[in-house]
Symmetry: C2
Subunit: 118 residues, 2 copies
């Protein structure tokens, strides 16, 4: 027997929380410079006045449900439907204004550290 | 005006090729250590006897359609349906045995370079 690297897997639409549950974050891949995460929202939004201001570049795609994001610069609103993806550079301030609760909203997010940047 | 980093976006299910078209590869994010790619297959499979033997770790998710992957180790077959994801470590030899042509099969792949490995 050799030491075989393992193939892991799952389904992004499996084990969805109920509409009454909290927002769910699950890290699928946690590497040194990349984190791949499934997020399931059930109606949650960012708190009033809160803005994400992330040190990492983020690629996010909405796979089920619906959501509204808002970007501070220009107070720009973006409505997301399944398949919609965004590439959000580090420190571009944004918030989640709304997510569909039922059926739940499923996201896939890829966070990438930029070496030497913070 | 400050130099604002741009937010890019699109929809993974837009501008799908026809079932008679070639397989389509589109790089959505091309960073130094991470490449995010949309692949649309319309019935293509790997050539007979061909195995992918990639230097990079790959996270792949099937978003629409259907596909059959095969892994050389143990001649393992994995059937994929929408939402199914796999984390395929570098140099794990695999091939695409079959893809659904119509409607097309849509994949999202995240290739990650592992520094110092080849």
């Amino acid at each position: 027997m050799t030491d075989r690297p393992s193939i892991r897997g799952g389904n992004l639409f499996a084990a969805l929380p109920r509409a009454t549950d909290q927002e769910q974050f699950e890290t699928l891949v946690g590497a040194a410079d990349v984190r791949i995460e499934r997020i399931v929202s059930t109606g949650q939004a960012s708190p009033a006045g809160f803005w994400y201001d992330q040190p990492d570049d983020e690629f996010v795609v909405l796979l089920a449900g619906a959501a509204v994001l808002r970007f501070e610069d220009g107070d720009r609103r973006i409505d997301l439907e399944p398949g919609d993806w965004l590439e959000i550079p580090a420190h571009v301030r944004h918030r989640v204004d709304w997510t569909q609760a039922d059926p739940p909203t499923v996201w896939l997010a890829i966070h990438r550290t930029r070496p030497g940047r913070g």
